[in-house]
């Protein structure tokens, strides 16, 4: 079974981002970029499937600027076999990413596509569902457990009320939550080995996909800041203030 994993290069989750003064977007100059945390869990799961003898090959795919190669290298150092970079300096929205992924799936014919449940920059939570729709495949979103057996994927999903399990016939798309696993750190020898693994570069037009954005960002602003409040000295003072000042209890 071949597994395709989509990994996005995003601003590291520890960075406190700043909105550009002209409202045109978020300032990403000189900030640290890493692999989207949910995608690390997706790669980890693929590597575990391979270690368990269930996956034969793992292909990691990233779309974006040349630097997204680094994100692919991270996936290769974790244990993926080869990478594909869809190089583009244009803004790629989830529908475009999904179409590019579909084109690669048509070429690569994997039985399982793993993506993160959400990219922590755009917070869209769409790409996996969209690529499943375009392929006509079933989807298991927000996975905290994945069992592959006999042409089926049983996915335990984190839902608002608790947990739900669905059974999908393969091929399928699974979008993963962080609780699926604890991603490994790549060891130094594996980082060295990853430098020799192949990365193929293609462009959206090579794949025949129109990636023109459907949504135009008119402006980006900072949200209203909360005023820092007061410190209270005791529980009694707290309850008093909640009753008489804030009037919420």
């Amino acid at each position: 079974m071949k597994v395709l994993v989509a990994v996005k290069r995003v601003v590291d989750y520890n960075v406190k981002i700043r909105v550009k003064a002209d409202g045109s977007g978020v300032d990403t100059t000189n900030v640290k970029f890493t692999m989207n945390p949910f995608d690390e869990s997706a790669v980890e799961e693929a590597v575990r499937l391979k270690e368990a003898g269930k996956a034969s090959e793992i292909v990691v795919v990233s779309m974006g600027p040349q630097q997204a190669q680094d994100t692919i290298r991270t996936g290769l150092a974790m244990g993926a076999d080869r990478g594909i970079l869809v190089a583009s300096d244009a803004e790629l929205q989830p529908l475009a990413v999904a179409k590019l992924l579909k084109a690669l799936v048509d070429k690569e014919q994997p039985s399982l596509v793993l993506v993160g449940k959400q990219a922590i920059d755009d917070d869209s939570n769409q790409t996996g569902q969209m690529v499943a729709a375009l392929l006509g495949w079933p989807q298991g979103t927000f996975a905290s457990k994945l069992v592959i057996d006999g042409g089926k994927a049983d996915v335990t999903r984190e839902i608002d009320g608790g947990l739900e399990t669905v059974s999908l016939s393969l091929p399928a798309v699974v979008t993963v939550d962080l609780r699926l696993n604890e991603p490994r750190y790549a060891s130094l020898p594996n980082i060295m080995k990853a430098k020799k693994k192949p990365i193929e570069t293609v462009s959206p037009s090579d794949l025949g996909i129109d990636v023109a954005p459907r949504l135009v960002t008119l402006k980006v602003e900072e949200p209203a800041r909360r005023q820092a409040g007061v410190k209270v000295a005791s529980v009694a003072e707290l309850v008093g203030k909640l009753k008489t000042e804030a009037k919420v209890i």
Partner: protein, 311 residues
């Protein structure tokens, strides 16, 4: 232009998130129709017909909709929704599961988690864990949108008298089956509609210690919430997680206990009206957003708080 709202329900009752979505739909202008896809779900359709502002309810009642599986439901939403100007659903795990699939089948973008409607094609949505707000305009003929409940008041559940029409089931792709679910049961209010929430973080230390949170919550008639760290540690189930990648809440009062205040947590609660923080570390970032901060050890403060509230 009419707007189609996809109802969220459990075949028995209409979920309140649908009411907030109907308010967002009203801001787009035009008739509001509600699609109820379920099994033996007529009571849900009847409830939806009573919601103020709803012109028509479309009921698709079939065993394939007994559980909201994305594959059959998206085909139905596309078949019904194609003639609408906009298709809206709550930004719940059900809406997030189904709506991107609907958008892709219609070859349009999906706009996630809107918190304001600027005009029928322009919306405000948070990005980067709510550290920025983007105003986006859709160029597509059909706007497919998920709605953040905290951004819109609930439409009144009574006073409307919409007609109910039945619609046939769409194809069943039969590639997915529902196996089972573990739904957390609680006597406490639901997190996303609670007036008061008491949340605990990693500092709670154990599942057992969360009883201290529950005791305070019960005195206040509050819901219990948690951080991702507390869920990951196994103190509480995943459905209590609040934050960028959990639930978004905005109660009248949010009490954060042993929570440091990471941006991913703040993303889910910083629109609460009053925030209280109880933390033994006076430098904890949570104090920067708290209206009232108490620097204290939770093992002292929580029992004292429960007692003070019983006075």
């Amino acid at each position: 232009m009419s707007v189609l709202v996809i109802a969220e329900h459990d075949n028995v009752a209409l979920k309140s998130a649908t009411l907030n979505t109907i308010t967002a739909a009203a801001k787009l202008g035009g008739d509001i129709h509600v699609l109820v896809a379920g099994h033996n779900a007529r009571p849900v359709a009847e409830a939806a017909a009573k919601v103020q502002g709803v012109a028509k309810v479309l009921l698709a009642d079939d065993a394939i909709y007994a559980h909201p599986l994305a594959e059959p439901l998206s085909l139905l939403a596309v078949a019904v929704g194609r003639s609408y100007g906009a298709i809206l659903a709550p930004a719940t795990t059900t809406g997030k599961n189904v709506l991107p699939r609907v958008a892709a089948l219609l070859d349009v973008a999906q706009i996630s988690d809107i918190c304001a409607v600027v005009s029928p094609d322009t919306f405000v949505r948070p990005i980067y864990a709510g550290n920025a707000l983007a105003t986006v305009q859709s160029k597509d003929p059909i706007k497919v949108v998920t709605v953040r409940g905290t951004g819109f008041d609930a439409a009144p559940a009574e006073g409307g008298s919409a007609t109910i029409e039945t619609v046939g089931a769409a194809d069943n792709p039969a590639v997915s089956t529902f196996v089972g679910q573990q739904i957390s049961k609680s006597e406490r209010p639901e997190l996303t509609s609670a007036r008061i929430i008491v949340s605990g973080g990693r500092g709670m230390g154990s599942e057992e210690n969360f009883k201290l949170i529950e005791a305070v919550a019960d005195k206040l008639g509050a819901a219990v919430g948690a951080t991702r760290a507390a869920v990951d540690a196994g103190f509480v189930p995943n459905d209590l997680q609040i934050g960028q990648t959990g639930k978004i809440v905005a109660p009248e009062l949010y009490v954060a206990v042993a929570i440091s205040g990471a941006i991913q947590h703040l993303a889910g609660m910083k629109d609460s009206k009053i925030i209280v923080a109880i933390n033994k570390d006076e430098e904890a970032p949570i104090f920067q957003v708290a209206d009232y901060g108490l620097v204290a050890d939770l093992f002292q403060a929580l029992p004292e708080l429960a007692q003070e509230l019983s006075k």
